[in-house]
């Protein structure tokens, strides 16, 4: 009779990561067991919040086009993490599920990407893809 797994404690400092490689698309995921550091995961299709109330929409009465380059602002805006154009116009906020990006930025990571989908009605919606760099 054979046994498998569960034969030693595996969480001492210095424990190497598992074998999987490559980031999982689609934002925070409970399916990735941590093989890719959280801060380095690629985020796809992230829906920004409060788009209709942010600078870009208020200035242009529209939303940025698909393909518009974006960056994550390092300084909080009213307690939220903002996503802006490379010119500094605030487009919207990341959902609070992504609050961990703030500490990732404290650890030296930056996030940039582009607008990947938009919808003007019934409420303005902007989705972005983001890649980390350090």
């Amino acid at each position: 009779m054979g046994t498998q797994g569960t034969n030693k404690f595996k969480d001492y400092p210095g424990t190497p990561r598992g074998g999987a490689s490559g980031a999982k698309a689609g934002g925070p995921s409970s399916e990735d067991p941590g093989d890719v550091p959280l801060c380095e995961r690629r985020l796809t299709g992230v829906p920004l919040e409060e788009v209709g109330r942010c600078d870009y929409f208020r200035a242009h009465s529209t939303i940025p086009a698909v393909g518009t380059p974006v960056v994550v602002r390092k300084k909080l805006v009213g307690g939220r993490i903002g996503v802006e154009t490379t010119g500094g116009e605030l487009i919207g906020f990341l959902p609070t599920d992504y609050n961990y990006l703030l500490r990732c930025m404290k650890q030296g990571y930056s996030y940039a990407g582009q607008v990947t989908s938009i919808a003007a009605k019934p409420i303005p919606v902007v989705r972005v893809d983001l890649e980390s760099s350090k």
């Binding site: 990561r17 941590g34 307690g79 959902p95 599920d97 961990y100 919808a119």
Partner: protein, 447 residues
């Protein structure tokens, strides 16, 4: 300001998590080891006054050496049980499914002499006691002789708050979670009753942790007021020991920081603990989080939804909830919502299931009743078992009404453009679904 040094008192366990989906089970030291990891991550000197079966002594010594050379005192032995806890639902989307092997056979023998010796360390600023299974009265009598602040995480014991009296003075903090049986049974889930029983009589402060709904902190000196701290829920790897990490960060950061800031750091670091089982990742994340300015950490928006506010959030369960369908995913969702004190509404169960040859009048009455129920609810949680027209139409109705719509898609069936794009969330992860329910319910409360 004194440099904190924390003595943890309680059992060391072995946590066995079954993550499912073919992933290998993970073994970790649990019990007070979770709080010890948090202290290590903060570079805070730690004393582990632990109780465990002998076979774990070597592992505890190795753990302590690897985590900042923590001082170790074995203050109790365990007979009759391996102190192994299996965890069936690691994310705590719903009931965690803990199984403490041979719990009823467990016999903890406290070594009071060693405990006394551990307590003689005058550099200890705080004791954090995790009662459960061992002689609490004798433990509190010894700890109470010190001049250190004493905090107790009373999730498991004591059931009767008069047992706190053995400390001989008031606790700095009594800590409880809304998921604990003590809170749900002894205090019937009523926060006011808990405050009345504990604050002032036994504790200077009461910390109530409310899972994905944040926490509240009550002071005996300021009755009727609470400091509310948001949670930072996200997709998690596990929920085991996350509350213990919250405790430890709070105990340390209250030295030199005000309560609001201390609690905010605790919440954020605890969220990081839930995201990984790699200690080095956690330490890096905790260190970076503690670098947030007080302005940043106290302003960082999260989710605040007090326990007693949740029943008023009625969640319409849109699903083929028929007796001829395998309804297990629906039952799981409903159990999770009830576990977190939400009010799930099941139209088919409440209004009835249409018969094969139902009359037009009967069909209309059922339709009207279901539509009325949607109007009564604040949120929709659709369970997509197959392409059920009723479920899909209800999703569309809710979206059109501006109602938050969360779709649980356990079988990965959602492909249609409207279905994937219009709801607030479509996910096959129950953890993500429940987290989204908290988020949108909290927004409804503050809207």
């Amino acid at each position: 300001m004194s440099t904190p040094k924390v003595c943890l008192v309680g059992q060391v366990l072995v946590d066995v998590t079954f993550p499912g989906r073919g992933q290998e089970p993970k073994l970790r030291l649990g019990g007070i080891a979770h709080a010890a990891r948090a202290l290590w991550a903060m570079n805070c000197p730690c004393v582990m006054a632990y109780i465990a079966p002998e076979y774990l002594d070597g592992a505890v010594a190795k753990f302590a050496a690897a985590h900042g050379q923590a001082t170790v005192h074995k203050v109790g032995n365990v007979l009759g049980s391996p102190n192994v806890v299996t965890i069936g639902e690691p994310t705590e989307a719903g009931p965690q499914g803990y199984e403490f092997l041979l719990r009823e056979e467990q016999n903890c023998i406290l070594d009071v002499q060693t405990l006394t010796k551990a307590c003689h360390d005058d550099s200890i600023t705080d004791f954090l006691v995790f009662p459960g299974g061992f002689d609490l009265a004798a433990t509190l009598r010894e700890v109470g002789k010190t001049t250190a602040a004493v905090h107790v995480d009373a999730n498991f014991q004591p059931d009767d708050p008069s047992a706190f009296g053995d400390l001989g003075r008031r606790f700095a903090t009594v800590i409880l979670s809304t998921s604990s049986r003590v809170f749900l049974d002894r205090y019937e889930g009523k926060v006011a009753r808990l405050c009345e029983s504990v604050l002032g009589a036994h504790a200077e402060a009461l910390l109530l942790k409310e899972n994905r709904g944040g926490s509240r902190f009550f002071l005996a000196s300021q009755p009727g007021r609470a400091i509310q701290t948001p949670a930072h829920p996200r997709a998690v790897q596990h929920s085991v020991g996350v509350g213990d990490v919250f405790d430890a960060v709070y105990v340390v950061t209250r030295h030199g920081k005000d309560d609001r800031a201390s609690l905010a750091y605790s919440s954020a670091v605890a969220a990081e603990y839930a995201c990984t089982t790699y200690p080095d990742d956690f330490k890096g994340a905790a260190g970076a989080t503690l670098q947030f300015s007080i302005e940043e950490i106290t302003q960082l928006e999260g989710v605040s939804l007090p326990w007693e506010d949740r029943p008023s959030c009625q969640v319409y369960i849109a699903a083929p909830d028929f007796d001829y369908v395998d309804r297990q995913p629906i039952e799981e969702v409903v159990a999770c919502l009830k576990y977190h004190n939400f009010t799930p509404r099941r139209p088919v169960v409440e209004n009835g299931q249409m018969g094969v040859n139902a009359s037009p009048e009967r069909k209309q009455a059922l339709c009207d009743a279901d539509v009325k129920l949607i109007e009564d609810c604040q949120m929709m949680l659709a369970v997509l078992l197959f392409d059920d027209p009723g479920t899909l139409i209800e999703i569309g109705m809710a979206v059109q009404r501006g109602m938050p719509v969360v779709v649980y898609d356990p079988y990965h069936r959602a492909e249609n453009l409207m279905l994937t794009q219009l709801p607030n969330l479509v996910s096959s992860s129950l953890d993500e679904v429940i987290t989204a329910v908290f988020k949108y319910a909290a927004r409804k409360q503050t809207a």
